[in-house]
């Protein structure tokens, strides 16, 4: 099966540091069952946010949805992903065929959150099923089984995309975009980012603060040296390499300098920033 889906059981709380009021806002959106669109640059914490919110909504001790085994189904969308991959297909069992639900159908039936990551990468036929699920109908039509599956009351569709590097051709159409409430994500400030990097990589807070400063300074080169700034994820990678015993400058060279650009001049400038910011 070509669908790259990941089922999260979320037994323990994922780490997430709220940057503004996004947690309360998402809870409100979920309470009203409003579909959610997460926008933001690469590696800024969109996926982590949805994991955290799923845990909060489905695994909290008070939650009536605690018994659901798989509360979050994540699909990493790609150019070959079609509506069939999301909805399901017939499989052969001996001489018989057997229908197998795709991740979206499973979420619709069970009341889980279905998260379509980088949705604009998927084939256009996926938008048809997205539309019927995100308006008042909350229905999933399955042509092959001639079913019209009503969404479970707890079901929520969440999509994400990155308007920064995805081309105009892959932009979301207004007719799709306007079915979602939009959460805009950016990079955290130095203090918040340092806390995230320290927690995720296990390095001390001083080194994490230095990495966050590198992130902040390097992002000043966005559009001049490269399209997107250094992501929090890359800073965490650098921290994790340091935790494994790699020297700080070498770790930054591997995780940041070489990762952000192939242009030797830009790399040298970023290396200069790393060099002066690290102790």
């Amino acid at each position: 099966m070509s669908t790259e889906s990941r089922v999260a059981r979320l037994e323990t709380a994922p780490y997430y540091l709220p940057l503004r009021d996004e947690v309360e806002a998402f809870e409100a959106a979920y309470a009203a069952r409003l579909p959610v669109l997460l926008k933001g640059p690469t590696g800024c914490g969109k996926t982590r946010f949805i994991e955290y919110m799923t845990w909060k909504l489905y695994r909290d001790t008070e939650s009536p949805r605690r018994q659901l085994d798989a509360p979050l189904l994540t699909v990493a969308c790609h150019g070959d992903l079609s509506a069939t991959d999301l909805v399901g297909r017939f499989l052969l069992r001996g001489d018989a065929t057997e229908w197998l639900d795709g991740p979206l159908t499973r979420a619709v039936r069970s009341g889980a959150i279905c998260y379509l990551d980088e949705v604009v990468e998927a084939r256009k036929d996926t938008t048809v099923i997205i539309h019927s699920l995100t308006d008042h109908r909350r229905m999933l039509p399955i042509d092959k089984t001639a079913e019209l599956v009503p969404a479970h009351p707890d079901f929520l569709l969440v999509i994400s995309y990155n308007p920064g590097y995805q081309s105009v051709l892959k932009d979301l159409k207004p007719s799709t975009r306007q079915r979602f409430v939009s959460f805009e994500f950016g990079y955290p400030d130095v203090e918040q980012e340092a806390a995230i990097v320290a927690h995720e990589s296990g390095i001390d807070s001083g080194t994490a603060e230095r990495l966050a400063v590198i992130g902040e300074k390097t992002r000043n080169l966005t559009d001049y040296g490269f399209e997107e700034g250094v992501s929090t994820r890359l800073l965490v990678y650098a921290g994790q390499l340091m935790s494994q015993g790699i020297a700080p400058r070498r770790a930054c060279e591997l995780a940041i300098v070489s990762a952000v650009s192939d242009d030797a001049i830009v790399q040298k400038a970023v290396a200069g920033i790393v060099d002066v910011v690290l102790p």
Binding site: S82, N220, I265, A269, V270, V274
Partner: protein, 703 residues
């Protein structure tokens, strides 16, 4: 290979480094002063032409980073935010002498004027402030420490005096101490008795929270100390460190940045904010005018207190106002409006004068964007001149005379035809989408795989159809427009040459029969120029490409001389095609010369960055490449043509398809030497440029 670094080798690295550290673009330029000191202006870092005191190139690059970081530190750590009023609040001794040099003098000049020898005060302040910046720099950027120590080691060796027996030696000792020299060693050399207390008072400057007022306070105490030791009476006190760089006491890294002018530049922004606040206050009062005569505010009008009076006096601490309550509207409101209007007008005039003065002193304001260095092909010498041309990027911002509405109106009639042409372009490109569950036709490879899986009793993939979808065009197109002065020329009417010549010989005002009958007629419509048609053609293209979905950028170029190639941005690749971009396009106007080589090289760089399977560069010009120093002989265009040809070949080698369109009837003569015949077009009638452009684009992007 020499370990010394030439500035041009690392200029782009340093420019990006400075932008990363400061968050704003900086140009890097060689410091022409013979001292080779590092300096800065609001937009430019001036660094030595070359740097090579260390045997390793990396260490020399680190040295450059150190010089840049110290200069950037003045801005980052608040040097330019200095206000004399606040300095007085922090240091009561500064209140002892009233100083008033006029509203536009730098606050630092006011500070120095407070002392008997302003030159000495300035020198002391520079030393103390540089030390404060160094400490902050080392604290915020600890990785610079090894470079700093290496640099300081050399300086300390040169500066430590045998004996501290006068003002000059004392200042050298203080500098050496600031760079890390041993205090005990310096105290042992001190014959004046001033060094130890001087070093003590510097303690406040090196604290983590030391701001610029810590420096002004330390200056006051240091000056008093020098006076009390009778050192200010020496001849040294009146020497001018600016006039004689060899005597300037600061190290290369600290240089002698024009701190007074930089403070005035920073203050300009504060004044601008004050002017905006005044305008806001006026707008609010205008809103109150809409209230009913009985004082009841109309809907939407705020009923809070009246705007504070923010009448400025051009100094910090100004704006003490008459806190007003909401009172019935009437004469009182009119009085307040008049007062605020007068204050705003006064401040606006002062801002204009100050801006002009600051620009004159600091320069560089003409090019606020980043700059790039490019090689140039020297045809006679058959070699590249390295880093020969400096190209400045500049955004086109519409002025009051730039009329995008007229531009839009002029192209309205043609828009439909061009769009239609591009609509036809779309379905020409299809791509096959395979492995579909539903589609127009069977995908035989998938079908065979399906049958095989069935025989193997494995679950087959039932996506056995295929479809032809309009192909996602992966095109990046860059339009580069010549904005030389000649594009201001009017379009030539299609009249017989002889008749035109005859007409030109006659002055209509000499012939009453010729002009008298015309006296009452409508004036001629505004003459159309080459630039007008260029802009219209680009607007049509951009409009069509936006609908098509191709990535595109629109740029213009001009300049004067190799140090000033100007590259104007109307629309970057990553930006959407919006009203702002149309306004920027409308702001394209004839400027100066046509140095094509660097503009083409810069365009190639942009296209390579933009990516895309197909990269297209279309150059639109109205004449041959020429500039004041484009080659040894200004009368000959051979050099410029050869360099442009080389730049076009470089573009092709980088995977960029190039095409030149010229409206110069004699274009064949030089274009055939610049590029292949299939790669250029000479347009006889410029009015056909829009049609020609879309034809060329279609041909280039559908191969």
């Amino acid at each position: 290979m020499s370990s010394a670094l030439a500035l041009f080798e690392v200029e782009r690295v340093l420019a990006l480094f400075a932008q990363g550290i400061s968050g704003q673009p900086y140009q890097i330029q060689p410091e022409s002063d013979a001292s080779g000191n590092a300096l800065h202006s609001p937009t430019t870092l001036y660094l030595p032409d070359s740097f090579g005191p260390y045997p390793e190139r990396d260490a020399n690059l680190g040295g450059y980073l150190l010089l840049a970081l110290h200069q950037l530190g003045y801005r980052e750590f608040g040097s330019h935010a200095f206000s004399f009023a606040r300095a007085r609040e922090r240091c009561p001794e500064l209140n002892s002498i009233p100083v008033d040099l006029g509203p536009r003098e730098s606050d630092l000049t006011l500070l120095f004027a407070h002392f008997r020898h302003p030159t000495l005060a300035r020198m002391l302040y520079r030393i103390i402030e540089a030390m404060r910046i160094d400490r902050h720099m080392l604290r915020h950027y600890p990785g610079i420490t090894p470079h700093y120590r290496r640099f300081a080691h050399l300086e300390i060796q040169q500066r430590t005096p045998e004996s501290i027996d006068g003002l000059a030696a004392l200042l050298d000792a203080v500098i050496a101490f600031g760079l890390g020299a041993q205090r005990a060693d310096l105290v042992a050399r001190d014959a004046t008795g001033a060094f130890a207390p001087f070093a003590d008072l510097l303690h406040a400057v090196v604290q983590p929270n030391a701001d610029v007022y810590a420096s002004s306070t330390a200056l006051t105490h240091a000056y008093q100390l020098i006076e009390s030791h009778g050192l200010d009476a020496t001849e040294d006190a009146s020497r001018d460190p600016v006039g004689d760089p060899l005597e300037a006491p600061l190290p290369t890294m600290h240089g002698d940045p024009p701190l007074e002018w930089l403070q005035r530049d920073a203050r300009l922004r504060e004044w601008q904010e004050e002017a905006e606040a005044l305008q806001l206050a006026l707008d609010e009062l205008d809103g109150l005018d809409l209230a009913d005569p009985d004082g009841t505010p109309s809907p939407g009008v705020a009923t809070g207190p009246m705007p504070d009076d923010v009448v400025p006096d051009g100094r910090a601490g100004a704006g003490k106002g008459l806190h007003g309550d909401l009172r019935p509207v009437g004469l009182e409101v009119e009085d307040r409006k008049r007062t605020i209007q007068e204050s705003r007008d006064l401040l606006t005039r002062r801002i204009e004068m100050e801006r002009s003065a600051v620009r004159g002193a600091l320069g560089g304001a003409a090019h606020a964007g980043p700059s790039f260095l490019y090689d140039e092909w020297d045809e006679p010498g058959q070699r590249y001149l390295r880093a020969w041309c400096r190209l400045f990027e500049e955004r086109l911002t519409p002025g009051p005379d730039d009329d995008s509405e007229t531009l839009r109106r002029n192209v309205a009639a043609l828009r439909g035809a061009v769009r239609q042409q591009f609509e036809q372009l779309r379905p020409l490109a299809y791509s096959r989408v395979r492995k579909l569950a539903e589609g127009d036709e069977l995908d035989w490879d998938q079908l065979i795989a399906y049958r095989i899986d069935r025989h193997r009793e494995a679950t087959p993939d039932d996506r056995v159809y295929q479809r032809h979808d309009p192909r996602a065009r992966d095109v990046s197109a860059l339009f580069l427009v010549d904005l030389s002065a000649s594009t201001d020329d009017p379009l030539l009417k299609a009249e017989p040459a002889e008749a035109a010549a005859e007409l030109n010989l006659r002055d209509p005002s000499d012939d009453p029969f010729l002009w008298a009958p015309n006296a009452g007629l409508e004036p001629d419509p505004p003459r159309r120029r080459i630039i007008d048609v260029q802009r219209e053609a680009l607007l049509l293209m951009a409009d069509a490409l936006d609908r098509l979905g191709d990535r595109f950028g629109v740029f213009g170029f001009s300049g004067y001389g190799r140090d000033c190639v100007e590259y104007y941005i109307a629309k970057e690749f990553a930006e959407p095609w919006t009203a702002r971009a149309v306004n920027a396009l409308a702001a394209m106007k004839p400027r100066r010369s046509t140095r094509m080589g660097p503009a083409i090289r810069h365009s190639t760089r942009k296209l390579v960055r933009a990516g895309g399977v197909l990269k297209v560069l279309i150059v639109i010009s109205d004449g041959f490449p020429q500039d004041c120093d484009y080659g040894p002989d200004r009368g000959s265009h051979e050099y410029g043509v050869a360099d442009t040809a080389k730049a076009l070949r470089e573009a092709e080698q980088a995977g960029v398809s190039t095409f030149c369109i010229t409206v110069d009837p004699s274009g064949h003569d030089y274009l055939k030497r610049m590029c292949d015949e299939a790669r250029y077009m000479v347009i006889e009638d410029i009015e056909t440029l829009p049609a020609a452009l879309s034809k060329v684009y279609t041909a280039l992007t559908t191969k």
